[in-house]
Symmetry: C7
Subunit: 244 residues, 7 copies
Amino acid sequence: MQGNDQQAYDRGITIFSPDGRLYQVEYAREAVKRGTASVGVRTADGVVLAADRHARSPLIERDSIEKIHEIDDHVGVASAGHVADARQLIDVARRQAQVNRLRYDEPASVESLTKEVTDYIQQYTQTGGARPFGVALLVGGIKDGEPRLFETDPSGTPYEWQAVAIGGSREEIQNFLEDEYTEEMDLEGGVELALRALESVNDDGLDASGVDIATIDVESKQFGKLDEDEVSARLDEFELGGEN
Amino acid sequence: MQGNDQQAYDRGITIFSPDGRLYQVEYAREAVKRGTASVGVRTADGVVLAADRHARSPLIERDSIEKIHEIDDHVGVASAGHVADARQLIDVARRQAQVNRLRYDEPASVESLTKEVTDYIQQYTQTGGARPFGVALLVGGIKDGEPRLFETDPSGTPYEWQAVAIGGSREEIQNFLEDEYTEEMDLEGGVELALRALESVNDDGLDASGVDIATIDVESKQFGKLDEDEVSARLDEFELGGEN
Amino acid sequence: MQGNDQQAYDRGITIFSPDGRLYQVEYAREAVKRGTASVGVRTADGVVLAADRHARSPLIERDSIEKIHEIDDHVGVASAGHVADARQLIDVARRQAQVNRLRYDEPASVESLTKEVTDYIQQYTQTGGARPFGVALLVGGIKDGEPRLFETDPSGTPYEWQAVAIGGSREEIQNFLEDEYTEEMDLEGGVELALRALESVNDDGLDASGVDIATIDVESKQFGKLDEDEVSARLDEFELGGEN
Amino acid sequence: MQGNDQQAYDRGITIFSPDGRLYQVEYAREAVKRGTASVGVRTADGVVLAADRHARSPLIERDSIEKIHEIDDHVGVASAGHVADARQLIDVARRQAQVNRLRYDEPASVESLTKEVTDYIQQYTQTGGARPFGVALLVGGIKDGEPRLFETDPSGTPYEWQAVAIGGSREEIQNFLEDEYTEEMDLEGGVELALRALESVNDDGLDASGVDIATIDVESKQFGKLDEDEVSARLDEFELGGEN
Amino acid sequence: MQGNDQQAYDRGITIFSPDGRLYQVEYAREAVKRGTASVGVRTADGVVLAADRHARSPLIERDSIEKIHEIDDHVGVASAGHVADARQLIDVARRQAQVNRLRYDEPASVESLTKEVTDYIQQYTQTGGARPFGVALLVGGIKDGEPRLFETDPSGTPYEWQAVAIGGSREEIQNFLEDEYTEEMDLEGGVELALRALESVNDDGLDASGVDIATIDVESKQFGKLDEDEVSARLDEFELGGEN
Amino acid sequence: MQGNDQQAYDRGITIFSPDGRLYQVEYAREAVKRGTASVGVRTADGVVLAADRHARSPLIERDSIEKIHEIDDHVGVASAGHVADARQLIDVARRQAQVNRLRYDEPASVESLTKEVTDYIQQYTQTGGARPFGVALLVGGIKDGEPRLFETDPSGTPYEWQAVAIGGSREEIQNFLEDEYTEEMDLEGGVELALRALESVNDDGLDASGVDIATIDVESKQFGKLDEDEVSARLDEFELGGEN
Amino acid sequence: MQGNDQQAYDRGITIFSPDGRLYQVEYAREAVKRGTASVGVRTADGVVLAADRHARSPLIERDSIEKIHEIDDHVGVASAGHVADARQLIDVARRQAQVNRLRYDEPASVESLTKEVTDYIQQYTQTGGARPFGVALLVGGIKDGEPRLFETDPSGTPYEWQAVAIGGSREEIQNFLEDEYTEEMDLEGGVELALRALESVNDDGLDASGVDIATIDVESKQFGKLDEDEVSARLDEFELGGEN
């Protein structure tokens, strides 16, 4: 199927192609690939979220390149793709986390938060007058003592993972994770795996300010970001730093 | 009818082609075929739902590949096609089951739940500004001591079956079911038939984590999923396991 | 008028062609012809509705192939065309029958029920953002001791008939009815005529499970379906059964 | 103006062509011409409405081919064109007649009823999202002792006539009326003129069941239809009957 | 600017062409020219409105060819163009005249009534989903002892005139008025000028039933139409009658 | 960028072209240029507004060719472009002036009135379903003893000027103003400059009825129009009158 | 991807291209580049905003060319691109600043104000029926003793910077900033850097009336614009003035 024929189906978001595909959703997946990569790793004692945050200028504040966000004390999100779209979905997740605390007087489960977000995404793929969200999210957190790691994609489908990559170079990084991941890893091993995975597609190595890492561990049930010194220490320890 | 002519009719969902067809609904049926297969078998003592759930990565949690869902104690659903669409219809069915319990103080009938869902689907094929649902469902359950098994398709038509397949390779599996199904089967025979049917189109055999099975039996009126060990035992018993 | 010219008018439902035609309504009539046939016969002592219900698989429950429906005690409907559309119109008729009983404390007339439905159909042919209904209905019933038989078509026009066919092979069956119908027929004669009419376009004869028949007789004012044994007895009696 | 150029203007109902025409309204006039003819004649002592109602099958009930309708005791309507559209306008007229009786405690004037209908028609020619009505009406009645006869056309313009034809063969019949009409005619003379006018374009003559006639006379102020015997007597008297 | 280029701009009403024109408004002006002419003349002691009302059949009631309408005791309107559109604007003017009397307990000024109508017209040229009004109006009346004569055009612009023509042959008639009009004319002189102006573009002369004339004089402040005898007398006096 | 390419962007008002332009806004600026010119001059003791008002017929009332309008005691507006659009914006300004007096019990500032109008204009350039306003305004007035002169353009941008021209021949007149304007001018000097500027692009000179002039002086804070005699006296004094 | 192919995706704002881009957002970025440049510099003791404001005529009031605006006492904004769009976003920011003071009784943070604005921008890139905002903003201010400097772009993404340029010649100015910026600068050094950066792309040097500068210093937490004399003194001091 070429040229003019395909065009007929991808201009309108809400219609199927003759072979049963939704092109706008597939193009939104391409928007995800245009973003830098994010990685999630689930270990027995917690979840690791890591993200590559390139900067187009040395004068930009790295912290303003938002890739990892706290949703609630016990849940964080890493994103890849269209940044402005990601911010909308993160707002949806935060509001839902608050609603849950108010209504049931307890933290929301990672799974139900994820599904609130994917339901929201799905509506933008079926109803006319809007485009899909050009972003994928990794939702990691602790619920009832269990670490959980979910992915949302632009079709609005939730998936649960042991370890997963989204964004640019997704396929290569996922292959790396499949080769290296073991269920026996502890949280620190998860941090190392996530960093090595990001490094595997960066020819120049990683630098501490260009990587965003957060963990949510089973014991504290607390989302926490590593500061630049902590990241730097790991890069040295794992020999992942670039030349600069 | 070729190329440009056909295009004229499939861009807008809500119009008929000169030969009286609704192309968008037909393309939504193609979206169903792009999904992996699900099978339903009705026996005298209960209903069996079975689904193929391939995983694109060994790191994905199989349980997050949602193919079979509990709607109410006595009703379950297996889906094939666009996963995010399936989740919306399952929500419709669950809400309706709850409404029924609240309003009439008794469980909803399998047939009325199915027709609530098909009415909902039909509206998306007639009113502008939206696309049809790219998913088919098998709705199985017990009502008044009778096992019932329904199919919903993207046009919003309900069908009742003794044994039926939806999704990829539908035709081959349905032929298999027509050859092998007998009304005298018991529930365990239904499980065997469903597994053999799925295996008939899988060259590499089945593995326990890649198959989702649930039964609703007449006696307990309870939806229940088989765990991975129970599936594994059947695959061994019926010699359906693959090499891995 | 050929090719491109015609296309200009049939994409939008709500516009006339230069020769004053509404193509979308005409294409909806084609959708009716894609369905299997239904037949209605009015006799002095009641109305007969009969419908061909082929099944695409021996495992399908014939009763779930809905062609004849009870609207109220004294009114039934047979449909041909898009099944999911038919279900919407049947709901409209049933709601209207209930409203009538509540409001006037008496059963609705067959004619007023028919016109409620055709008004509903007409709106879908004039207002933008929706397609016409791809279905025709035969509405039969008793009111004030009189048997009545109406047809609704996709333009929203009501017609009253002595005997009429809708759906596939309509022209042939209607010719058959015109040759064979007499005003002196009794209800049983109407059943025979309806079955012979359906058989006239079925090379392989009829089988009891593949025909749906209902009558509403003047005396009891009751809609009633014939069960499979009753149908089978007629097919034997009239020598209309096929080989299987 | 040919082919592609014209198409540019007739697809959207609400726009003018460069020469100031509304093509959709003109095409709706073609839809009127596709219907069988209706004739109205105003005489000093009443108004006559007559309509040709062909039937496509001998089994159809002629009375269900609706061409002449009572709006109120003192007003009737004959239509030509799209039947389902006519029914909507007739409902508008009937509701307005009722509103008038309730609000002013007296029958509505023929002129004000006509103008309510034409205002309603005009809106469908100016506002987007709908098509014009493909029907013309003759509104005849008595008000303050005066017989009145109006025509509504698809643009929403009201005209008052002494004698007028709408629908198929309009031009020929109108020419006939212009030649034969005299202001001195009485009601029976009006009936004869109306029948002769319809017959003038029917090669096979008229038959009683194929003609619908109603009168509203000044004295009784009552709309009344002629029954088939009364029509038959006139056809014999005027030697207008066909061979069958 | 030719063919395809122009089409790009005239399909959508609400957009400008590259040279800053609104084609739909210009085409609506063509619709005005398709109507028969109307003429207004303002004299020191009153305003004259006159209109050509051809009839396509001798059987049509001339009075039903509406060209001049009373808006309030002291204001009248003559129209040219799309008749059904004119009726809507006349309703707007009448409602506004009533509102003014109710709210301020005095008759509305001719100028403010005109501007209410032009504001209404303008909205149909800027907001999507509707077409402009294909009609021009002459609004004549008396306010505070002053005769006033306004024109509204399809763009929604109001103009005040001493003497003006709208509709078919506008240019020729306007030239005639510019040559013949003097400020010293009295009302009867205005009637003669208006009739001569209409006659100047009618090769066959005028006949009394084909001309509609009304005056609003300063003294009585009363809109009044001339009856057919009064018109006939003037045509004889001014030797403007045709042969019939 | 030529022909077809450009068309793609100027049909829909709400979209950018690849080089970041809004063509519909640019075409609306062309609509402004199609109007006759208006000029504004700010001097130390007041603001002058002047406008060319050609008439297409000697019978038109010049005062009805609206180019200069009073908004409030202390503010006036001169327009150029689509007259019917100008009237809408003038209504917006007048309503806002009234609201200000009611709410704050003091006259609105010239700047805030201007910005209310430009905000209103901007919305018509961003939201779908409407076209931009094809008109520019000069807003002149006194606030806190200061003369102010603003321009609004079709994009909704406000500019403040010492002396400015809008409408036809804008560039030539603006050049004239840049050459001749001095900050030391008094109000009468401003009137002379404005008249000379308009005359500079009129080969036939100006005539008193064809020019509309108003001033708002610092002392009286009163908008006032010059009557025809006052204009005539200036034209004689400045030797700007044409031959007629 | 060339010509026709690209057109398919940039006409509708709400859809992705096959490579995952939103062309309308990219074209809105071109609209930003069509504006003159603005520069922001953050130093330890405050934030500097500077903007180039060319005038197309010497008679225009420079202060009416709005490039830098006060949002609240402690926050200012510099814009580049479509001026009328900028005014809408500045209104959004001001309203939000007021809401914050009313609701929490304290000034809004610079970051939260920025994100309110970017959320507002994002909605115009996803929902149909509107175009994106063709403007970028620099938001500078003091919160909790910290100077902050943010950029908003047409996609609705917020970025934080040490020093940044938006608008025409963005790339060249940003390179200049990257070469010259040091974290040790004080506020006056920031003013010098900002002026030098603007001058680097102006062949004719800067003149005091053509540059708009504001600072918000940590100590006073007060937004303040430099008057023309203050700007002139800096241009002399830094030898940045042009010949005029």
